[in-house]
Structure formats: C-alpha cells, structure tokens
C-alpha cells in the first residue's frame, strides 16, 4: 500500500519525468533545489495539474490515469501551499472550520481545540485574515489542512515563513500530528533540520526527477548527501532513552555505550509522564565529533565512545570525513581537518576515542 506516481510532463523548458512509489506511512521529505519541480509534483498528486500526463494511485485506489481523474475534494488530501492561501472573505475561525464542516464526523480524528492549541491559534480565531502577519497566516493554513483529518498531507515548505522560535515550537507538534494521526505526509522542504526531525523517508529531487525514495537512515549513510551540503554530515544512532532528573537530560544507551544527552522542552512536554523510551533516534553532526587517541580526562566533553576507524574520506575542502564503527556496530561520522588527521596519524582500523560534544534527540 503506497502512493504511486508516474509522470511524464513537458511544460515549456521544464520536464517533469518520474515513476516513483512513495510510502504511505510516515513522513516522506522531498528535498531539492529551487525550481526542480517539487511544487509541480505535489500539484499532480493533488490532481491540480490536469494537463500533466500522469498516473497516480493511493493505497490501491486509482486517483488518476488516462481515463479517470478523482477530483481533489474526493481525495481527502490536506494541502498547505508555499504561500498561505487563506480565504479572504472568511475570518480565521471560519477558515479553520471550513474543512472541518465538510468532513464526515466519522472521519474526524483530530479535535479542533487540539489543533488550535498545538498551533497557538486560539488568540487569532476572531481575526480577519488580513490582520495576520505572514507567519500567523501560515499557521492558520496548516491548522486548516489538519482540521479535515486528511488521508494524505501535502506540505509545500509550510514552515518557510515561520520564525525560528515558532518553527521550533511547531515542529514537534507537527511531527506528533503526522505520527499520532498516522497521516502519511509528503513534505517539501529546504531545511535539513526539518528533514531530520520529521522525515522517515526522503526523495531527492533534481531537475524534474526524483531519486528512489529511501529511508532517512539510509540517506544519512552517504557522506555526500545533498542533505549535508548545508550543515555537514550527520549520523543517527538508535537506542533507548531514559530521562534522568529535570531539564530534559537523560541517558541514551545502546547495548555497549551510553551518551549523556538532552531532549528539547517541547519534546518533554509532549511525552510527560513516561521516563523511558525504546528505539529512539539520536542525531549527531559530524562536526560535533572529535577524535582522541587516548581517552582524555580533564576535558569538558562528557561523551567518550570507543570506536574503530572504518573509513577516511578526503573532501575537496581540506576536511576529512572519518567513519567510525562503534562497539555495537553503529556508524558515527566525524569531520576533521586533514591537518589533524595527519597529526594524529589516523589510519583505517585504528582504535580511537570519539568525543561527542553535543547530540540532539530526534523523534
């Protein structure tokens, strides 16, 4: 069961050509440079580009082929555009309730109050849409789409207009919404952070075509992934997380090592009550990992992990990406200068200590 799309669409100079199956569970990120066709692809999935030669089916139901085109309103798709497109003749509440009213009670999985709360919309309900700032508008658009409890969410850079604080506040809620309501989501985004926090799968787009969709963990194995162009390589470790004391600090453990890490307050408030979580993901930027030949003492870095060097990739910017295999076999990447590599005499197979300065709990 999944979303299958095949498109062959020449529009002026631009050609969108792909045959792709997207998982119909969790969040699939579409990541690619400006103008590569992300919006066009979403519009085809939504049935908004009738001119496009395309076949679309979702969970076994044909949405579009040569002979048929299920109209958008029958697809139960939540759509958030790049620019908030609020209906200007309705106030905020009426915009939000527009879809809600048109959703059969049996299909309503999300309570309006909950959506209002998670997107901080309560204080805006009485406003006219022209009284909202850009960010507020986008929040309303997001809420409005969620109100229909859609079967599929199509998000076209929904957070681009939000400020960092608002973004950080909403991200975990969005993550929870798409997870708890099990709404499969196609997310177009430019932000590696959003991908790491939200995505389960990722499809890289370039010039009108999509590389096969892969699991995020898999995509992160590739040091030259476009995801890393901005912030550098990232490793993701799987393990158990147990909260210790307050402030969100706790212990991330695998069978063979522990890391002292911290989850965000938003994360905490979402999971208040429980203290131990299985199968969590820890995100570690390669630039936050240093290497020592002996286990250093008298240093502020807390997390020291024994590892073996399993790869050394020289990049053209004078940096070396060091692949480290941890005791439990998981992969950790470290970014060092080539000067350091030669100073320390790092070679393949060498046992070293990985010093992890900081790590972020995902999921």
């Amino acid at each position: 069961m999944s979303l299958n799309v095949s498109v062959n669409w020449q529009r002026d100079a631009f050609c969108l050509q792909l045959a792709q199956s997207f998982p119909s569970k969790g969040v699939t990120a579409l990541y690619g440079p400006s103008g590569c066709g992300k919006t066009s692809l979403l519009r085809i999935v939504a049935g908004l580009e009738r001119g496009a030669m395309s076949n679309v089916s979702f969970n076994g139901v044909d949405w579009q082929n040569e002979s048929l085109c299920v109209p958008l309103e029958k697809r139960r798709i939540g759509l958030v555009f790049q620019e908030a497109s609020l209906l200007p003749h309705l106030d905020v509440r009426a915009n939000l309730e527009y879809g809600w009213r048109r959703t059969k009670p049996a299909q309503r999985r999300l309570a309006p109050e909950e959506i209002y709360r998670m997107l901080a919309l309560e204080s805006l309900l009485q406003h006219r849409t022209d009284q909202l700032s850009g960010g507020q508008r986008q929040r309303v658009a997001l809420g409005r789409a969620l109100m229909t409890s859609p079967d599929l969410l199509l998000l076209d850079e929904p957070l681009a207009a939000l400020d960092a604080v608002a973004k950080r506040q909403i991200l975990p809620y969005l993550a929870r919404v798409v997870r708890d309501t099990e709404t499969p989501t196609l997310l177009v985004t430019h932000s590696t952070d959003e991908v790491l926090r939200l995505a389960d799968h990722i499809g890289f787009m370039e010039n009108g075509s999509v590389a096969p969709v892969v699991r995020l963990a898999e995509a992160l194995q590739d040091p030259s992934s476009p995801l890393f162009a901005d912030e550098g390589a990232v490793s993701v470790l799987q393990g158990q997380f147990v909260i210790e004391g307050n402030g969100g600090w706790g212990m991330f453990s695998t069978t063979s090592y522990h890391l002292h890490v911290r989850s965000s307050p938003e994360y905490m408030s979402l999971h208040s009550g429980s203290t131990a979580f299985q199968n969590h993901r820890l995100q570690i930027y390669a630039r936050d990992v240093s290497i020592a030949l002996t286990d250093p003492t008298q240093i502020s870095i807390q997390n020291h992990l024994a590892a073996k060097i399993s790869g050394l990739t020289e990049k053209d910017d004078g940096l070396v990406l060091v692949r480290l295999t941890l005791a439990d076999g998981q992969l950790l990447m470290a970014e060092l200068t080539s000067a350091s590599v030669s100073r320390l005499g790092l070679i393949l197979g060498m046992p070293v200590w990985a010093l992890v300065k900081s790590a972020a709990l995902l999921q």
Binding site: F81, G99, R128, T129, D130
Partner: protein, 236 residues
C-alpha cells in the same frame, strides 16, 4: 407634494409591473449569466470568443429594431412562437413572458460582463484550497466563488436591474404597451411625454430616479464596505 405623488391606479399597476419585471429579469439573468460567464471566464477557445461576442451583440441594435426582430421571432409567425404554439403554449409577443425574454436578451451583456471579469480575476488558488478542504464544485461556487466575486455579482445585478427598468424600446415593440401586462413604467413615462403630459411624466420619472437612487446607494454602500475590508487581502 402629496398631490404630486398621488398615483392613479394605472400608475400603481405600472409600478407593480415594473418591479415584477425587474425582479424576475434580474433573477433569471443571474441564473443564466452565472454559468455562462463562468464558462467564458475559464475557457480560451475561439468558440468562447464567438459566444462572448454574440452575448454583446444585442447592445448594438437600436432597441426598437431589436424588438422588431424579437417580434418576428417570438410572435405567432416566428419559428420560436410557432414552436411554442404547436406545443400548446402561447407565443411570446404582447405578453409579460415575452417582455421578460426580451429584457433577458437585452440586458444579458450587462450581467455577463462584470461576472466574467470577476470570475476571470478570481484565479485558481481559492478554488484549489476549497477543493482540498472537501468542498464539491457546487459548494465551492456558493462558499468561495460567490463571496469572493460579490463585487461582480452586485454590479451585474444592479446593472441588469437598472437597465431593465430604463429599457423601453424593446418592450414597447414586443410588448405592445398593454396595461397590466406589458405597460411598464418606462413605457408609461414615454406615453405621458408623447401626450405632452409633462406633469405626469415628471412625476413618474422622479419616482423612478429616487427609487433607483435609493436602491443603488443601498447596494453600493454595502458593497463598498465589504470591498474595503477585502482590499488588503489581495496578496494573502
């Protein structure tokens, strides 16, 4: 003054008839012009262009001449009239139904044009949004297109109403000025003026002007308030 506005029973009859004609015509016109304007606004073939041009053509002919052709077409000798008669119905000349049809044709461009403009300018986005929220085409029409094109609807209805009210050439020719049936206010004013009965002509003219002015002020006033609200929204 009270004397000035002491209307005769014939006046009252004409007033009532005029209002009936205007309301019915405007109503039918909106029902007719809306799908037509929508179709015109969304399509781009040469056929659309031809239809759009045809809609505007009644404007071009002098009203009595238009009325004459309608008489030929809708009267007992015309093929529409004959078809109706052969179906056991009445032909349309010299009847209230006839002048409704005539007013529809004559005022059609005033209903279609503003609607078409408004629909054309609406863009696809609001409709896409509404569809994604589960609104069916009819639902979108009622809850998105109409509210957002309110200006165009008001203009269309107002122009249609006013134009039907003032129109008399077509009505005179096709309707025949029959009291209680086709003798509307405009015909009556015309008749008074023809008889050099200026007192009565002035009286009824003033009535129509004042009445129409009040309607227009009410309609435009409401519309204006609304459209100012909406103005900052153009880019949202």
């Amino acid at each position: 003054m009270s004397d000035f506005f002491a209307f005769t029973p014939a006046d009252w009859q004409a007033i009532w008839l005029t209002l009936k004609l205007c309301f019915i015509t405007t109503l039918l016109l909106m029902l007719l012009a809306t799908p037509l304007a929508w179709w015109l606004a969304r399509g781009g073939s040469w056929f659309h262009t031809v239809v759009q041009s045809l809609v505007a053509l009644p404007l071009v002919l002098p009203p009595t001449v238009l009325g004459f052709y309608l008489l030929i077409l809708l009267g007992p000798q015309g093929w529409i009239g004959q078809t109706l008669e052969s179906m056991g119905l009445n032909h349309l000349a010299f009847s209230f139904n006839g002048i409704v049809v005539a007013s529809l044709i004559y005022s059609l461009p005033f209903a279609v044009q503003p609607l078409q403009d408004a629909f054309g300018r609406l863009g696809h986005r609001p409709l896409e949004v509404a569809a994604s929220l589960g609104a069916s085409p009819m639902d979108r029409l009622l809850t998105v297109v109409f509210p957002l094109c309110r200006g165009g609807l008001v203009t269309a209805a107002t122009l249609s109403f006013a134009h039907t009210m003032g129109e008399f050439g077509v009505i005179l020719m096709l309707g025949g000025s029959i009291p209680g049936e086709t003798r509307v206010l405009s015909v009556m004013i015309y008749d008074y003026a023809e008889a050099l009965d200026f007192q009565n002509a002035h009286r009824l003219s003033l009535l129509m002007l004042v009445f129409s002015f009040l309607i227009l002020v009410a309609v435009y006033g409401r519309q204006r308030r609304f459209s100012l609200f909406a103005q900052r929204n153009v880019n949202s």
